[in-house]
Symmetry: C3
Subunit: 214 residues, 3 copies
């Protein structure tokens, strides 16, 4: 228990952000399912893919077990309850509202899962570029799987918004801080903060990726 | 060899149901491939995904090897032969007929693979809810993969039929019987029987999942 | 260092073909991404799936680590650079030209990855038919994943061209040469050569798979 007050605050802040981020990712799946008028089963599967798909793919690629959702099974209950509630209470007019509101919690999710995913890969002993790729896969592939199973081209592939690109840049920051001898704890906290801030700026200022000049 | 006659009968009955179920799942892939006018290669891949996709995904998630189709390679030959025969003999008018006829063997497949998948996960040491999720994935994700690769929203996501939901309920029965001290053998046999019966009733009486009221 | 000159030549020839094949597979992803007007992120992901997807799936199924792209991380850089260059320089009129030119390097990729994938599976100790299936998955599933994520029915499923079928036949050749006591080295070299030759003949003479008579 020789944590400083600062570390104590960041630990609980990190957990809070992780919960907020996972909820945001899950909600993005729920909304997609509602748009496509899926039934309870489709909702539960698409919501779960959005929430856990990226981390699960990362863990399969790194050969890590157990998965996040196996270790924190409370999340499966949470998602089942979310789906049941949505089926009863959600109406078409809620969808757009929810999407706009979600930009903030989604940015928390991007930061925490990109920085965290990079650190997990570093700890697993892979090289810097592979760690950064794993850090991008963690927050991005949940959305990719969510879109692929409902027959859409993944938004991450063609919305020209800096999202995965910010995760990529932030991953290098985490790698750099590790090389400078920072603890994994502070590397992730700093990386997550920077990624979230950049993402919020990208949304606020409408930053765009370059497009085809064809 | 201290099996009773009852266990002997159930063992061979189980194997028979497993074969019937796998054939039904494979046929669903074959029909989908025929609808989309895929060639021999597409047929073989879609049929294999429908037959083995769910169990293979479960085993990847549980980190189990070897896969069913690696251990029972006769099935790969069976599928290749089915595809070649279908290409020669199957006509458009067979498709609808086959689909209706398949409701019964498909219900056997649902029962045996949901109950069996749950038991395999329990034996692998996971918690009840995870075991039940694995039991749902086993019979359901073959069909999900089958539909995703041919560019359809998976039928399991939006047909409002109780299918995965019955597998979910039956999984809890298997978990409960295990907790009551029943052998894995009788837990699976009972679970499979109940799931198959519920599924057949769902088909016979046209049970529906609740829909969006939007 | 008791390699003969012949083996030395074939070793470097094999590496050259591997590079050419991977480039061809990556380019097929890049072109698909350009057609769909994906952004930089979508391009990088689709290109990577096309280049590494098949081998990665094979390795997950065989439980092999590390993956090709983890061990040869230079390829990740190569793909990122290819994507950036394409974004700047590629125009619509290049696409068709590139596709026709790619038939040759793609045939090299088919040969080297089908024969190599079969041998890797044999070395992993699986049975002949499973080894041949893994040899088909290696060159074919990159393209399948590439098409599925951008919402197309995989070309491999319905273009009626002998591609996976040639990989299948060539895989049996590799298995047979192994059984005859040939070294893995010469089995792969011979298998790759035969597969590439057959594929080029299929393209040149317009061989077709049988179609539905419905």
């Amino acid at each position: 228990m020789n944590q400083t007050l600062g570390e104590w605050l960041v630990t609980y802040g990190t957990q809070a952000f992780e919960i907020i981020g996972t909820l945001a990712f899950a909600l993005s799946g729920l909304i997609e399912a509602a748009r496509k008028k899926l039934d309870l089963v489709g909702m539960a599967i698409v919501t779960s893919l959005a929430a856990f798909g990226g981390g699960t793919l990362r863990d399969i690629l790194l050969d890590r077990r157990p998965f996040f959702w196996v270790q924190n099974e409370i999340w499966i209950w949470a998602i089942l309850i979310m789906c049941a509630l949505a089926l009863v209470f959600m109406r078409a007019r809620h969808i757009e509202l929810t999407e706009r509101t979600m930009q903030l919690p989604d940015a928390f999710g991007l930061g925490i899962f990109a920085a965290g995913g990079t650190q997990i890969a570093i700890t697993a002993g892979v090289s810097p570029i592979i760690a950064v790729v794993m850090g991008v896969i963690t927050p991005v592939f949940g959305g990719v799987l969510r879109d692929v199973v409902v027959n859409e081209i993944p938004r991450a592939f063609n919305d020209h918004q800096p999202y995965a690109v910010i995760a990529f840049a932030g991953g290098w920051l985490v790698v750099g801080l590790n090389l400078l001898g920072w603890s994994s704890f502070w590397s992730v906290a700093t990386g997550a903060l920077v990624i979230t801030a950049l993402r919020l700026m990208a949304v606020a200022f409408g930053w765009r990726l370059p497009t085809w000049r064809v």
